[in-house]
């Protein structure tokens, strides 16, 4: 008791008694305040709250018990130790005193030596009690803040002890004499039963359980009830945690998880969840669930041009138009915003395809009307794709994909609604795959340039090649440029691809030049996108520079379509390119929209006549007229002319007679890899053996050409199948060697040889026949023919080619 400021209040009507008590307390460090009756005592207490109260039980006026009760009721009197002093040692007074809140009880006569010890003990207890009360108060405070309440329920006595905040927690008026049953009105029967179940379970098993219960006021509580045993008494202790806020927050979070905050529509998650639920229903009904995906593609542009706020407003407006439309239709729909510009509509109740289509079209129509935002009018041009779950696709992801596929389908013009069909999906899937793979194709070496020779018509020598891009897809095989070039353009890969082609082609041409293979022309195709690139001429210059290729050898091929507009920028570009010293060719001429006039207007050096005209020219008058006109005009303008797709002699003859300068096509060579075409070009022109096979039997021609190619790969082989063609072919082809079948319809090989000899006395003619009779051998000898007996075998072909082995012709 070192604390000096301790004070004690002694309330007693007996002055002597007050003095004696004071006498005992002063040595313990107390300052003393005395009061001679209850009223003064209460007053003194409130004026200067003491640390200890001595209170006489029997006083005139209000007695000690009443004073004690009043002191305890005051806020400061709850914890102060109050020692009751009485002369009576009766049980009843003692009970009453304790019930009124007395801390201790001293009966007269007082054993003074013991009093100081007793006071010391009381003070220690009081301090401990104060701590407990404070911590309990803190606990209650914490519980109140946490929304935590508790109660104890004594099983034997049915006494119910709620924590101070329990009543407030449950929204009830508090009551000291509360009973467990008082809680019941706050809950529905069902919820109350839940609480009782927790209680019985705890009582019967000794194990605690937890449950979430909801009060009638809409609050949610987590309730846990456990068994406790205290001094032999068995009871239940309940804890209640108000989780209403948590649940509200969780519900809100759950709502946000499934909904689009902007429009209040379901979001993608919400769509998936809703579809999952409804799909079960659809399966039970065995009907398809229609899913309409609406794309507001224009919204993307609005967002770019006018900002997010405007786009958001329009989206909100679109969503509310849709819900109004849905209400008007009286058709249950579920709407979800799938991406920033897409809304999906699930028709919940619809079964008739006609009504779904009608509803879909109405929805699109309602979105087609202009929207207003910031004083501006916007048209969103909605497009819709309709797919049926599970008929078209059976997962929430794939049904959206199917609807999107339908949406992107190029349909009849003016129609905004499209239906899914699996076939077009496959096309799109392939396209998407190619898009994906094309990005890596270059790096992975799946792209390659092939080269097709351009042949001079006058002597059929190769004068150049056209570089053709080839894509060998590791799984899908060869992909044609007509398929992948538009993809490259769309995904923005064309510049990179075009640059690669240019570098590769120029590099190859330069290497050939270094290896002594002289070609006048390396033709490279240029797309419209490349031409539109302001830096294209610099890129070309770079490719020329890095390869060291003479610019005069480079020909850029443009299609008519890239020049269809009177585009000054394009024409300027052409002039810039020309200034690099290269040549320009107009590809596929005749197919596009340009007229002959464009030939005079554009700085073009070469005109390539489209294959469709070339191939039709020998048999169709109109095609022939077109080819003649192109060749004539180009010739007069001093342009070179290339015929594309030459496959047959008749076509070649036609072109020759009309003054075409160059030809290209399978008749001469297919496009081949750089190494293959190099082998072909390497045989120095003039030293390559040209062989004309004249035989009516396809089998014989096949055997001859196969065996010749095996034994003399450099040989150029031309075949004709009738004797009548033979002489014309010999004039045209000027072969080094002719293999001539004796036995042919109408004219025999011998007759042809006889007709040829006067003009071609030294032409090497190998006569082949199964008829080896002497007179024929004799005639062959007289015509200076070499004579070989069929069948055509390796040995026979080797003998035919013997003069040409080891290089060089001999006569």
């Amino acid at each position: 008791m070192s604390k000096i400021s301790l004070s004690a209040l002694i309330i007693d009507d007996d002055e002597l008694m007050r003095m004696m008590i004071a006498e005992a307390l002063v040595p313990l460090g107390f300052t003393i305040v005395e009061a001679e009756d209850g009223e003064r005592g209460v007053q003194a207490f409130s004026q200067n709250p003491p640390d200890l109260v001595f209170l006489d039980l029997l006083m005139p006026g209000i007695n000690g018990i009443e004073v004690c009760r009043q002191l305890r009721a005051s806020p400061l009197g709850r914890t102060v130790p109050i020692v009751m002093v009485t002369g009576q040692d009766d049980r009843e007074s003692i009970d009453q005193s304790f019930q009124a809140g007395a801390t201790d009880f001293i009966s007269k006569p007082i054993h003074w030596p013991m009093l100081s010890h007793r006071v010391r003990f009381i003070m220690q207890s009081a301090s401990a009690m104060r701590d407990i009360v404070q911590s309990e108060a803190r606990l209650h405070q914490a519980q109140r803040l946490a929304g935590l309440g508790s109660f104890e329920y004594e099983l034997a006595t049915r006494l119910f002890h709620p924590s101070p905040n329990l009543a407030a927690l449950l929204g009830m008026t508090g009551d000291e004499n509360a009973r467990l049953g008082d809680l019941k009105p706050g809950f529905s029967d069902h919820e109350w039963a839940l609480i009782l179940e927790l209680a019985t379970h705890a009582r019967d098993t000794g194990q605690s359980r937890m449950a979430e219960v909801h009060s009638l006021t809409g609050h949610s509580y987590r309730v846990q009830i456990e068994v406790f045993a205290d001094e032999g008494k068995l009871g239940l202790r309940g804890n209640l945690l108000d989780i209403t806020d948590l649940r509200v927050a969780q519900d809100h979070a759950a709502y946000l998880e499934r909904h689009d905050p902007l429009t209040g529509l379901l979001n993608h998650e919400g769509f998936v969840a809703a579809l999952d639920k409804m799909s079960a229903l659809a399966r039970r009904r065995k009907s398809d669930l229609p899913v309409l995906l609406i794309d507001l593609e224009r919204l993307r542009r609005v967002r770019d041009g006018f900002g997010h706020r405007v786009a958001d407003e329009l989206m909100q407006a679109a969503a509310s138009r849709l819900s109004k439309c849905s209400d008007d239709l009286g058709m249950g729909t579920l709407r979800a915003r799938i991406t920033s510009d897409e809304i999906a509509v699930i028709f919940e109740g619809a079964t008739e395809p006609e009504s779904i289509i009608e509803a879909s079209e109405k929805m699109l129509a309602t979105l087609e009307a202009p929207f207003e935002s910031s004083g501006q009018s916007f048209r969103l041009q909605p497009a819709g794709g309709l797919a049926f779950y599970p008929r078209d696709a059976d997962t929430s992801e794939t049904i959206l994909k199917a609807a999107r596929t339908a949406l992107r389908k190029e349909g009849e013009a003016g129609r905004a609604l499209h239906f899914y069909d699996a076939e077009s999906d496959a096309t799109l899937t392939r396209r998407l795959r190619l898009e994906e793979d094309l990005r890596d194709a270059l790096a992975q070496g799946h792209l390659e340039l092939h080269y097709q020779p351009l042949v001079r018509v006058s002597d059929r020598q190769p004068v150049g090649v056209e570089a053709l891009l080839r894509w060998h897809h590791p799984q899908l095989g060869a992909i044609t440029p007509t398929e992948f070039i538009p993809i490259a353009e769309e995904i923005g890969l064309m510049h990179e691809l075009g640059a690669w082609v240019l570098h590769e082609a120029c590099g190859q041409a330069a290497r050939w030049h270094a290896d002594g293979i002289e070609l006048d022309e390396m033709a490279v195709n240029v797309s419209g996108l490349q031409l539109a690139d302001p830096e294209f001429s610099q890129r070309v210059a770079a490719a020329l520079k890095s390869s060291g290729l003479n610019p005069a050898r480079l020909v850029l091929e443009l299609t008519e379509s890239v020049l269809v507009h009177d585009d000054l920028a394009a024409i300027e570009q052409l002039h810039r390119l020309k200034s690099l010293g290269l040549r320009l060719a107009l590809d596929d001429f005749g197919t596009g929209f340009s007229s002959m006039v464009s030939l005079t207007r554009l700085p073009i050096d070469v005109v390539k006549v489209d294959r469709s005209f070339v191939q039709a020219a020998p048999t169709q008058r109109t095609a022939a007229a077109v080819v003649e006109a192109i060749l004539a005009l180009a010739g007069r303008l001093g342009m070179e002319t290339v015929a594309e797709g030459v496959e047959e002699h008749a076509q070649f003859d036609f072109l020759t007679s009309r003054g075409c300068t160059t030809a290209q096509g399978y008749m001469f060579q297919r496009p081949q890899s750089a190494s293959d075409i190099t082998r072909h070009l390497e045989k120095t022109p003039g030293n390559s053996l040209k062989i004309l096979i004249v035989d009516d039997s396809r089998l014989s021609r096949l055997m001859l050409s196969t065996l010749i190619k095996t034994q003399l790969p450099s040989a150029t082989i031309v075949e004709v199948d009738t004797a009548t063609e033979a002489i014309g072919a010999i004039e045209r082809e000027r072969p080094d060697l002719v293999t001539l079948d004796l036995n042919m319809p109408h004219i025999s090989g011998m007759e042809i040889a006889a007709a040829l000899r006067p003009t071609h006395p030294t032409l090497d003619i190998a006569m082949l026949t199964a008829n080896f009779q002497d007179s024929i051998v004799q005639q062959a000898r007289e015509l200076n023919l070499r004579f070989f007996v069929k069948p055509i075998t390796e040995v026979v072909v080797a003998s035919i080619l013997a003069p040409y082995e080891k290089g060089g012709k001999s006569s």
Binding site: S697, L699, N743, Q773, V789, K790
Partner: protein
């Protein structure tokens, strides 16, 4: 015409020499060892020839036909049962032609086999008999045996020189016929040529 025993032997010998040469040519074509023998031959009227063919072949037959002109005129035919030709076709084309294209080349392949065989015979005969003969390109038909020796180009009094041929390729035997339709003039020229041959044999002219 009825051949004397001597003429018969001389002609049979000529055919044996001819098919021996044809066998060499064919074995080049087919890349297989081939044996051809001529067990018999004879002149028949059209009806008898047709009856013989019908008895021999109770199935569709394949016929390669070539016309020969020059000192004598003849329609020459190689007649084989259709069922036996497919085996020859594959051998004839080797690996030049894929299985799928094979049917397309079948007729040409058989025609080429006929071309080699018939020309080898005609050329050898012409050389031995000192005749000058030209052939037309071979043509191919499949038909019933009874129709083979009829048609607008056949004269009623034509005679058929029917040559029995046995072709063996890898243990596989094909019974074939060479048929030469000869008119009266050709018959008589053939007879004369045969007599001259016999005379040359007698004088050892062909010894070398």
């Amino acid at each position: 015409m009825n051949l004397t025993p001597m003429q018969h032997d001389a002609l049979l010998e000529s055919f044996n020499i001819a098919v021996a040469r044809a066998a060499v040519s064919l074995s080049h074509l087919l890349r297989e060892e081939i044996q051809i023998s001529v067990p018999d031959m004879g002149f028949l009227g059209l009806n008898d020839a047709t009856i013989q063919l019908c008895q021999l072949y109770r199935e569709e037959i394949s016929v390669v036909t070539q016309f020969f002109e020059g000192d004598i005129q003849s329609r020459a035919m190689l007649i084989t049962p259709s069922s036996s030709t497919r085996k020859i076709v594959r051998l004839a084309v080797g690996d030049l032609v894929t299985d799928s294209d094979l049917p397309e080349f079948e007729e040409e392949a058989i025609a080429e086999v006929g071309n080699i065989l018939l020309n080898a015979c005609i050329a050898t005969l012409a050389n031995q008999l000192r005749l000058d003969l030209r052939s037309t390109p071979p043509s191919f038909v499949r038909d019933d045996p009874k129709n083979i020796l009829s048609g607008p180009l056949v004269a009623a009094n034509d005679r058929v020189l029917m040559v029995h041929i046995s072709l063996t390729i890898r243990n596989y035997q094909i019974v074939a016929r060479l048929a030469f339709l000869l008119d009266a003039r050709s018959n008589s020229i053939l007879a004369t040529a045969l007599n001259q041959l016999i005379e040359r044999y007698a004088h050892g002219v062909l010894a070398a």
